[in-house]
């Protein structure tokens, strides 16, 4: 045994290979864990999209028929009785959360003329599926609207290994479009 260890230490290429493998394994394990991070604060998102002139916060109450529709989109009962939003003209901002697998994904959505103008992942806390934050995925939502069956009128391609996160972001975009339409009709 001692002879074998001495052989490893005397052979620099073999030693390099072992150390390299251990380091790759270490980074592979830790790159999967601990990806919980906030990319942008809610205030920063709102200031950016309303040119530092954020309108007063409004609320929409999730009750009766609207609750049924929201629950149907999320495929589970929505936890809160009201949702905050910011409205300037026909442009509304929604900061919504939905659990991908275990942790909530905070998503900021800007809607104008019943179409998604911008969508951004503000905080991602899951250990997998963070690819949904990248523009190559999020740009698919731009200018998509809501059909009569409360589905998006554009097809959203998924990401391998991020199915639950993709599903959560898609649900939130549908919910924001529904709530925007609801508040517009109500006002």
């Amino acid at each position: 045994m001692l002879v074998r260890i001495n052989y490893i230490f005397s052979n620099s290429k073999l030693l390099l290979l072992i150390v390299g493998s251990v380091l790759i394994l270490f980074f592979a394990v830790f790159s999967v864990q601990g990806r919980a991070e906030t990319y942008k604060t809610n205030d920063a998102f709102l200031n950016e999209n309303f040119a530092n002139n954020v309108p007063t916060v409004k609320v929409v109450w999730i009750r009766d028929a609207l609750k049924e529709q929201v629950d149907a989109i999320l495929a589970h009962p929505y936890a809160k009785l009201r949702v905050k939003y910011w409205l300037s003209g026909d442009k509304s901002a929604w900061i919504l959360e939905e659990i991908g697998k275990e942790q909530p994904i905070t998503t900021g959505i800007i809607i104008q003329n019943n179409k998604i103008e911008k969508i951004e992942i503000l905080a991602f806390r899951e250990s997998r599926g963070w690819e949904v934050k990248y523009p190559f995925f999020l740009k698919q939502f731009i200018q998509s609207g809501l059909k009569a069956d409360h589905r998006l009128d554009k097809n959203i391609d998924g990401i391998t290994g991020a199915t639950l996160s993709v599903r959560a972001v898609t649900k939130l975009s549908r919910m924001a479009l529904l709530l925007h339409k609801y508040q517009a009709e109500k006002s």
């Binding site: 409004k58 009785l81 905050k84």
Partner: protein
Amino acid sequence: MRKRKKKSNWLRLLLLHRYTGLTAAFFAILLSITGILLNHTQELALNKNYASASWLMQMYGIKTPDISQAYTVEIHKKMHWVMAFDGGAYLDQHALKCNVPLVGALYANDMLLIANATQLCLFTAKGEMIDVLSLGNKQTIKRIGQQQGQSNDKALIIDSSTGLFTVNAEYTALLAGDASLSLVNTLWSKPSVAPDAVIAPLLKQHKGEGLPWERVVLDLHSGRIVGLAGVYFMDVIALLLIFLSLSGLALWAKRTFFKRKNG
């Protein structure tokens, strides 16, 4: 010479049989009694009666969590308790979606307001979540209270690590306090000790009915009551009982055969 050696082997088997019997006797009785009980689970209603002894609960890892914090709130002229229990918040026995530990609870503006270190959670009187208002990063809520005055509209005061906060009229945002807010004349939400009458139903709800006696008897029978080691120990006892049966048969056969041969 050969005959003497054979004799000593039989003697060894007899001694082994005897000591194995002595070792396994207690467990044979235990297995037999628990076996009979399990055969008559329904008649004895073992599946409907529950054990409640604390040592047995500890053995099964069923812990009784403590009430970490408890606050009284008056809702529609009736006293209720907001408590942090087993990692969650409760309004009496109703679970609430609000992080713990709690720092205060109030009923104001037809809403139940519960504060933890970073959030103010808003609920209806029935415990339905309305919304959650968060304090900014690196700010912590120390306590919440209501400013007392002649006006019916009593301002909510949030005492945080960075100063006083209040809430806007619609309860949609936390606002940094101005000169009108002061710690004087503020009635703070203070923790109290929840009475047993409030805790008991919560504990019962947490533990369920308890541990059915059928499970205890079954685990005694299998040895699982002391964990995996108990299962392996009972396996050894079962092997000893098999050995006892076989050695008993062998000794009986030898004695019978020997008697016939000599007879």
